[in-house]
């Protein structure tokens, strides 16, 4: 059951016996459920990671929502609507799962709107072209799948279960993106140029989605021990590159990286340096669309206030009958 039985640590020292038993359960691949004892740091780490994941799903609707009214055909429009609706659903699954840790939905929304909680850096890039819908589905959802598949085995039960649902739906997102890229790549010269241009703009930001290099990643070691994370950022990034490069070649598109080269010895692609300064700037709020995205969320929240109020009043009125 998902109601919140929060046991707070009150900042006190957690008993060594409980901590040891907890880690033993994790090591045995047992799932932790909402009312089980857990270290406060585990709870807080999950709240941070899961709420930011949920925020990413919600903010992720914005760059694509931008194109719903301008999709080139009715078929593409219906597909895009379904995809954006899925993103809302994914946000809700994860918000629900996060609430089982004792934080309210209202609090999470506040943290997003105040900038205290982050969301994926990728959604701070603009989508000026229809081809960007292809690049986002193919690359951004593709990168998200790399991250999310291992999360289906995360040690926290509600998170893992939400991820199973999400991963089932995410495959459609990636394929519809690749389908858009395929149509454009096999279209007129102008269409092919659109596809290449979108790939040029989204390739590096997609690689940054996996987070900082392992040597600079602050949360990794403990998250691995708790089995909230299964593979390192660099491992997942490499997997993504290895899977994606042949897909680009198949379409006759060029990955915008002069250093990209197949390495016979390692069995992986070598690739060029990532501009981590750009990543840090976007995370800090200086990406091309950070302000616009948060403003859109704030407006949606404000514009929806009357709906929430009406629902509350209706609830009270019905309770009096």
């Amino acid at each position: 059951m998902y109601s919140q039985g929060l046991k707070d640590a009150e900042g006190g020292q957690e008993p060594a016996g409980l901590l040891k038993a907890f880690q033993a359960r994790i090591d045995k691949e047992e799932k932790i459920e909402p009312r089980d004892w857990m270290p406060e740091a585990y709870r807080q780490t999950l709240i941070r990671q899961m709420s930011q994941h949920a925020h990413s799903e919600i903010v992720g609707q914005l760059p694509e929502g931008n194109w719903i009214t301008r999709a080139p055909t009715l078929k593409r429009k219906m597909i895009l609507l379904a995809k954006v609706q899925d993103e809302a659903g994914h946000g809700l699954y994860i918000y629900s799962a996060t609430e089982t840790l004792g934080i309210t939905r209202t609090k999470m929304t506040e943290q997003l709107l105040s900038g205290e909680a982050k969301y994926s850096s990728i959604f701070n890039y603009p989508t000026p072209s229809w081809a960007d819908m292809g690049a986002i589905g193919w690359l951004v959802d593709g990168a998200a799948i790399m991250n999310q598949v291992p999360l289906c085995r995360a040690s926290y039960g509600p998170y893992a279960r939400a991820m199973v649902r999400i991963c089932k739906e995410e495959s459609f997102h990636q394929r519809q993106g690749y389908d858009i890229m395929t149509s454009l790549a096999r279209g007129s010269a102008a269409q092919k140029k659109m596809a290449q241009d979108a790939l040029n703009r989204f390739w590096w930001p997609a690689l940054m989605m996996f987070g900082p290099s392992d040597k600079d990643s602050t949360h990794s070691a403990q998250s691995m021990k708790w089995k909230i994370k299964r593979f390192s950022n660099d491992e997942l990034r490499q997997k993504f590159i290895d899977a994606t490069v042949p897909q680009a070649e198949h379409l006759g598109l060029t990955i915008p990286d002069e250093d990209l080269k197949w390495n016979e010895d390692t069995g992986h692609y070598d690739f060029g340096d990532i501009d981590w300064q750009e990543f840090i700037n976007v995370i800090k709020g200086y990406g091309p669309c950070n302000k616009e995205r948060l403003r859109a969320r704030q407006n949606a929240h404000d514009d929806g206030a009357w709906v929430r109020e009406a629902a509350e009043v209706y609830q009270q009125k019905k309770a009096q009958l």
């Binding site: 059951m1 004892w37 809700l92 699954y93 629900s96 649902r165 629902a311 609830q315």
Partner: protein
């Protein structure tokens, strides 16, 4: 808004199964939201929503005393009783 737990029957013949939760003002809204959030791909033929506060749950800290007594009652399983080879299956 109240917290509702959502249960879905995937197809007739199966139990309703817990799939997640959502917020709604009343059970009618909860059902509508559950349909949109949890059955976009024919995942169900029937939905139950239950106010989370209406659920009583066993305490995980008492899990041992509640459930461990079943461990040593092997005589509740058919395999506890050996059968002569002539009888074979039963």
């Amino acid at each position: 808004m109240k917290l509702y737990e959502v249960f879905i029957r995937a197809k007739s013949g199966l139990n309703h199964r817990h799939v997640g939760s959502l917020h709604a003002a009343d059970s009618h809204m909860a059902l509508q939201n559950a349909r949109d959030v949890y059955t976009r791909r024919e995942e169900g033929v029937s939905i139950w929503v239950v106010e989370a506060s209406a659920i009583s749950a066993s305490n995980p800290e008492q899990a041992e005393s509640w459930f461990d007594p079943a461990i040593d009652k092997v005589y509740r399983h058919p395999t506890f009783y050996p059968l002569d080879k002539e009888v074979d299956n039963m």
